[in-house]
Amino acid sequence: MDKTPPLLGNQLPADVGDFSAHIATDDHKTKFVMRYAHGKSVLDMGCVQHNPENYKSKFWLHKALCGVSTDLVGIDLYRDGVEYLRTLGYNIQVADVQNFDLGRTFEVIVACDLIEHLENFDGFLECCKRHLAPGGRLLISTPNPWYWRNFLKAALSREVANNPEHTCWLCVRTLRQLVRRHGMDIGEVVFGSRYLRDRLMPLPRGWKHTSFHAEIFCVNG
């Protein structure tokens, strides 16, 4: 690419309500990622999570990964955010996840709430493959397009809230078809929502949860 996409999401302020010294280990996304990252070398992609102030949040995934991985590297396109977090001692580099080379491999690559921001799935998945150690796992989280509130808003209020930086939606099937084009496949899939009201809702998982998480592996090891 000969252009850098605008990072509209960086204008989003951090949610001070989530600031805490603790890590939300019961959060669906944190729990899923920590299970795979425990005792492994990990690459955390898009780790700034829009606003570097999010390092204070109990949901900041990179902080959770620091506690369980043996070796953690973060990358993000948001230069100011990366520089700020580096001053705090985090091992984070500026890189475009669609085109990067760190010259090494990782046992786990984490790409949470990232793929829906991209315009080049091809470059992203090839970079992930190149950086995955044999037997390694790529963990992808993305919003569930059929989350009940998205649908109701589209049908009734004619408004749909989605992050202004999102470029697409993926369901489990389309994600599977996408990764299979690159010699990979999906293993475990977990749906989850941070909101109690969603988790208690008597609806199937494909409707009631805000996101899903997929474990992806290379078919040839």
Binding site: E119, N120, D122, W146, A154, A161, T174
Partner: protein
Amino acid sequence: MNENEIVTKWNNRLRGTRIVVRDDQLIRECVGKKVLHLGCTDSPFTQEKLDNGTALHPKLESVASQIVGVDIDSSALATLGSLCKKTDLICCDIESPILLDKLSGREFDVVVCADVIEHLNNPGAMLGNLVKAMQPGSKLIITTINALAIKLVLRALFAREAVHPDHVAYYSFATLKHLCERFGISVEDEIKTFLYPFNNRFLTAVQPPFYRLFPNVADGIIVTATRL
């Protein structure tokens, strides 16, 4: 700002959505225009659609002043070429920079990208090519499956998904708008939705009044954009 306020800020008002017939709308946009039609063969259904009269390309060819068709399937292009004699057919991957060489020296008023984007590994590469091939003021019309279509949602309720085996993503108005804007293509606020053919007579009969009330959850969306 708390999470609710952030989500409110992210709301995208879908203004004046109305339901249309996809092919009729595309034909209206192409009358008397110089047209570039991406994915023009409807492969792998080329012969079938040509036989039953549902292929889009011959309809566009009949109204456009000049038309260029691009597709990656060379055998489907040969099939289409036997019928569409006015079209300049090009065999090329629309994500490849080679497309620009093949289109150099040509000008287009309208670029039609009908039900193609959901097949692409690299939609950004296609848009990057198009923005270079289009002149300021040229129109880009993208049609695709609506990520928020009620039929998809209802299938999800019963733990089912009917997905074309070559589709790798879904798009909604907001995501397409942002994707286009990354490449300097401005999307009109007014959007249109449409229905795909349906094999159930009862549901086909009850669909129109329902979708007149709830056009935003129809099967497909049509987004019109202009190169700035």
